[in-house]
Structure formats: structure tokens, C-alpha cells
């Protein structure tokens, strides 16, 4: 609501004061996490605190980014697991999502089914966890990346369908008809005609899916027990609950685990925000 009328001085002051407050509220925790990761243990245990480190300490990052020691191995293995699991699950969700979205947009699949799909991700995971645990245990896939990839796919698919569907709905159907009249099959039409047009939406969905999977904690906590499947959120919970007494180590793990999602969010902000807002609101 920008006004063409010049803003009175006191309102201007109020505006900038509020903005400063907002910036502080948003940035302070992040900056403090960063500072903790770079402060020496003695600075972190001063009362009151030494806010700006007396000396910059990069040792935790060196420790964590080194496969050769225990902490580094635990951290890097978890990062790698998260990367593999989030990427695979997002990919599966996109493929299944685009196909199903096309059925909803163009083949009159029932909206009741769409709603049932969406309802599955709104239910609390505690309603699925135990039968899944028994099933995975019987199949011998507890503590594997596969079990988490399947669960995360189920978590991402309804959302992917919804976002893809809203984007396919607004396309003019004539182009697809033209392609089909010329003899193209449905899958071919989908790949060569529809996909290129909705590519930006696919990108947004892929990134939102990745971020959601990167963030997931509950399934990972229950289904993974060692380095072969533990994801980064579980590793962080371990670090913060374990014998680590140096806050700096915990903070460094937090900073490094935030790097991928924060970079994605900042670089593709426009994309992501429109996906988020569109997915949750425009429908």
C-alpha cells in the first residue's frame, strides 16, 4: 500500500524503528549461532558473555569436515545420507506427482481422491509409525536409506500433485489436443508439451520437496540407528544430547546443516515463495 502522499516524520521514525526491531529479531539468533561456532570454549562460558570472540576459532569446522575423526565422520555421513535421501525422495515425488496431477487435471480423477491424498500428509505421523516400523523390520529394511526414501516420497507426493495440478489446470488444453491429434501418446505429450511449460513450477516443487525432506526428523529418528541411514537432523539431535560439552561444536553442526537449505532459499527465493504461497493459498 505505498502512498503517493509523503509520509509524516513521526510515521517514518516508527517505520524504521519497527524495521530495526524486525531485523534484530530475525538476525540475532542466526548471528549468535554463527558467533558461537567461531568462539573459543572459554569465551562461550564467560558470565556475562563475550559477544565478539576474543579470538576466532575455526577448529570445529576443521574437525567436522574431516572424515578421519569420529565427529567428522558422524557429521559427514549424516550430511551425505540426507542428501541422497532428500534428492531421491524428491525425484520420486516429482515423477509420481506429475503423472497423478495430469490424471486430476485432464482425466477427471475424482477430487475426493485428491482430498484423501492431501489428508494423508495432514495426519500426524504417529498414526502411521508403528505398522511401518513392523513392516520395515519384517522386510529387513529398518535402518536403511530405502525405508526413509519411501516414507519421504509418501510425505511429498500429495504436495507435489497439488502444486503440479494447479499449474496444469491453467494451461490451455488445445496444445495437448493438437499433439494428440498428430498421434502423440499421453506420456509423450506430457513430456514434450506439458513439462517444458510447467518447468518453473517443477523447479519450485523440487526445491520445496528437498527442503521438506531435509527437515524431517520423526521418521528418521525412529527408523535409523547408525551411520548407514542417520540423517542430519538426527545427527544434530545426537550431537546436542550427547557428551559434547562445547557449544561451539553443536553450533558448527547447526551452521553447516543449514547451509544447503539457506542457500537454496536465498537463491531461489522468488520461486520458492510463489510455490509456497500458491500451494497453500491460491489452490
Amino acid at each position: 500500500m505505498h502512498s503517493t502522499i509523503k509520509r509524516p516524520r513521526h510515521l517514518s521514525c516508527l517505520l524504521y524503528a519497527s524495521l530495526t526491531l524486525l531485523a534484530f529479531f530475525v538476525l540475532a539468533p542466526v548471528l549468535w549461532l554463527l558467533l558461537m561456532s567461531l568462539s573459543s570454549p572459554t569465551d562461550l562460558t564467560k558470565v556475562p558473555l563475550q559477544w565478539i570472540p576474543s579470538q576466532w576459532d575455526f577448529s570445529r569446522y576443521a574437525l567436522l569436515l574431516d572424515w578421519q575423526n569420529g565427529s567428522g565422520k558422524r557429521f559427514l555421513a549424516a550430511m551425505l545420507n540426507s542428501l541422497i535421501i532428500a534428492t531421491s525422495a524428491s525425484f520420486i515425488a516429482l515423477v509420481a506427482g506429475v503423472l497423478a496431477a495430469y490424471a486430476f487435471s485432464r482425466r477427471n480423477a475424482s477430487m475426493l481422491l485428491m482430498f484423501a491424498f492431501l489428508a494423508t500428509i495432514m495426519m500426524p505421523p504417529i498414526t502411521y509409525i508403528l505398522p511401518l516400523y513392523s513392516a520395515f523390520s519384517e522386510l529387513g529394511i529398518l535402518n536403511t536409506k530405502v525405508s526413509l526414501i519411501i516414507c519421504y516420497s509418501a510425505m511429498l507426493i500429495p504436495f507435489a500433485i497439488w502444486l503440479m495440478k494447479t499449474n496444469i489446470d491453467v494451461l490451455p488444453e488445445e496444445i495437448e489436443h493438437a499433439a494428440m491429434i498428430e498421434g502423440a501418446g499421453t506420456i509423450y505429450t506430457l513430456r514434450k508439451v506439458v513439462l517444458p511449460i510447467i518447468l518453473p513450477a517443477i523447479g519450485a516443487t523440487a526445491m520445496l520437496s528437498f527442503l521438506t525432506a531435509w527437515d524431517e526428523f520423526f521418521y528418521a529418528l525412529i527408523f535409523s540407528s547408525d551411520l548407514s541411514a542417520k540423517t542430519i537432523p538426527v545427527a544434530i539431535a545426537d550431537f546436542s544430547a550427547g557428551r559434547v560439552t562445547d557449544f561451539g561444536v553443536i553450533a558448527s553442526v547447526g551452521v553447516l546443516a543449514s547451509v544447503p537449505p539457506v542457500l537454496i532459499a536465498l537463491f531461489f527465493q522468488r520461486f520458492i515463495v510463489s510455490g509456497l504461497v500458491g500451494g497453500s493459498v491460491k489452490g
Binding site: 505505498h2 524486525l22 564467560k46 497423478a100 490424471a103 509409525i129 499421453t186 537432523p233 539431535a237
Partner: protein
């Protein structure tokens, strides 16, 4: 060329991958949990005889004051968290909708809390609240607001609210973005006309802006409530349900029933009760979404 399969079969083929995954990972487990909730099943390494006990688990659950308390706490968490996120989110959206230098930067900045993983958020705030070396204690002490260091997460009276603050920090940006997008659609001429008629800013907000953005807001409010109602991760990392169970929410309660006490039967009945409350919320979402776009 005529297609070899009809439109109807094609529809189901297109749906097949999604339907298979969701059936196996969501629909079937849900039915199994429902079935377990009527049994006296327990998790054990040895095969045990499971018998059907009707509504016994439910009667027990609904007369268990600890479980009822955890439901109450979960509702408190949901209402206060989402309420604060909406008020803060809308306020921030109004602010970022003004003209000022650095607006693009500020709009980009508020994506930070949302982008930081939930677990990192929980760990960060736990360190900030630390009773001995936490930043909050140090800051408030240096500002002269508190006389001595406080145990923020160790005090049963405030622990839940401190967890809520961390949750609000992480989630208000989402509400802000939705509100900001909705604000762009508010017709300027209506606002200008009201201004010329002498309506003050409050009046303009409540009479024009708010009714205009309430549709999208309602959708995000219900979505956030559904999410907040199943809160687990932030509790797990920050308090593990303590102190004195004051932050033990329903999901955490069920988690313990399953994996600490190994009671799968009664745990399932708790889970189903939580699910039923979620279903009420989901129905609210359905209504809100329908009102918003008339399609779903």
C-alpha cells in the same frame, strides 16, 4: 492413431505410482493402527497372543488425566503458537508492504528463519536459553532486565512459552509471505476512498484490508494448526517433554507409549484420538480452501 487404452484406464495408470506409495505408506498403516487400538497388543521380541478388547483402550485413554493434560498442552501450543505467528506475520507483511529503502533486502531476510532446519532452530534456541551460559540470560542481565540468570527451559511455568517463542520465530515468515501476497490484491482505490472519507489506519485495516486478505489467511492458519498440533521435533530437542511434563505434547506422549513403554495397543488408541482431532482440523482446512477458491 487411436490410443490403445481408454481414457478411464489411462487415468488409473497415471494415478498408479502415487496411489501405490500412499496406499502402502499411509492408508494401510492407518487402518492397522486403528485395528491395534482395539487390541491389547504389546511390542515384544517374542510372538505374543493379541486379543481384541473392544473400546477398553479408549475408555482408559479418555480417563487418563496425564493423556488429557497432554492434549490440553498440545492445544495450548497450537493456539498460542499459530495465534502469535498470525499476528506477527500480518504485522510484518503490513510493514514490508510499505515503501522504504532496502525493502527487497528485508523481504529476502525474513526467509532465513523459515529456511533453517527445525532441528537447528530447536538446538539454537536451547543454547540461547541455557541457564548457565545462554545468550538470553546474558543479554537480559546486561540490559538490567533480570537480576540473576534464569533456567528458562527448567521452569515449569515458562518452559512451554519459551518453546513457543522458538516455534514462532521459525514459522512466522510463512504467514508473512502469504499475507504479503494477499495484500498486493487489496484494491488501492478502496483504501484511498476510505482515507479521503477520514477513516483512520486501524479502521481501514479492519474494514477493508483484513476482510480482503482473510481467505488466504484462513487457509494458512488451518495448515499451520494441523502442523502445530503434531509438534514433536522441537519438543524432543528442547525439553524432552520436561520439566515436570509441562511440555509433553500428544505426539510425544504417544511416542513414549510406543517406544518407551512398548504398549502398542493403548499407544494406538492415543494415536487415533490425536488423529480424530486432526481430522476436525483437516475438515476446517477443506472448508477454508473451498471458500477460498471454490474448487476443492
Amino acid at each position: 492413431m487411436r490410443s490403445l487404452i481408454g481414457a478411464k484406464q489411462q487415468k488409473w495408470l497415471l494415478l498408479a505410482p502415487a496411489l501405490t506409495v500412499l496406499a502402502l505408506i499411509s492408508f494401510v498403516p492407518f487402518v492397522q493402527t486403528l485395528w491395534l487400538s482395539f487390541s491389547d497388543s504389546e511390542i515384544s521380541a517374542l510372538p505374543t497372543v493379541v486379543s481384541f478388547i473392544g473400546l477398553e483402550n479408549y475408555i482408559y485413554a479418555l480417563t487418563d488425566p496425564d493423556f488429557i493434560d497432554s492434549l490440553g498442552r498440545t492445544l495450548y501450543f497450537t493456539f498460542v503458537s499459530v495465534g502469535a505467528e498470525v499476528i506477527l506475520g500480518v504485522a510484518v507483511a503490513l510493514l514490508l508492504n510499505q515503501q522504504f529503502k532496502g525493502r527487497t533486502l528485508m523481504r529476502a531476510l525474513i526467509i532465513l528463519p523459515w529456511a533453517i532446519p527445525t532441528i537447528v532452530n530447536a538446538v539454537t534456541w536451547r543454547l540461547i536459553y541455557n541457564p548457565e551460559y545462554g545468550a538470553l540470560n546474558s543479554l537480559l542481565m546486561q540490559l538490567g532486565i533480570i537480576g540473576e540468570y534464569q533456567s528458562w527451559l527448567g521452569n515449569p511455568d515458562v518452559a512451554m512459552n519459551m518453546v513457543i517463542l522458538a516455534d514462532v520465530w521459525k514459522n512466522f515468515p510463512l504467514v508473512a509471505y502469504v499475507a504479503l501476497a494477499a495484500l498486493q490484491t487489496v484494491p488501492m482505490d478502496m483504501l484511498n476512498a476510505a482515507r479521503l472519507e477520514g477513516a483512520n489506519a486501524w479502521r481501514r485495516f479492519f474494514k477493508i484490508t483484513l476482510p480482503w486478505i482473510i481467505g488466504p489467511l484462513l487457509v494458512i492458519i488451518v495448515l499451520r494448526s494441523v502442523e502445530a498440533f503434531r509438534v514433536f521435533d522441537i519438543i524432543y530437542v528442547m525439553t524432552r517433554g520436561g520439566p515436570a511434563n509441562q511440555t509433553k505434547t500428544a505426539s510425544f506422549y504417544v511416542y513414549q507409549e510406543y517406544f518407551s513403554y512398548l504398549r502398542s495397543g493403548s499407544g494406538s488408541s492415543y494415536a487415533i484420538i490425536v488423529a480424530l482431532i486432526s481430522i476436525i482440523l483437516i475438515f476446517g482446512y477443506y472448508k477454508a480452501a473451498k471458500r477460498q477458491n471454490g474448487s476443492l
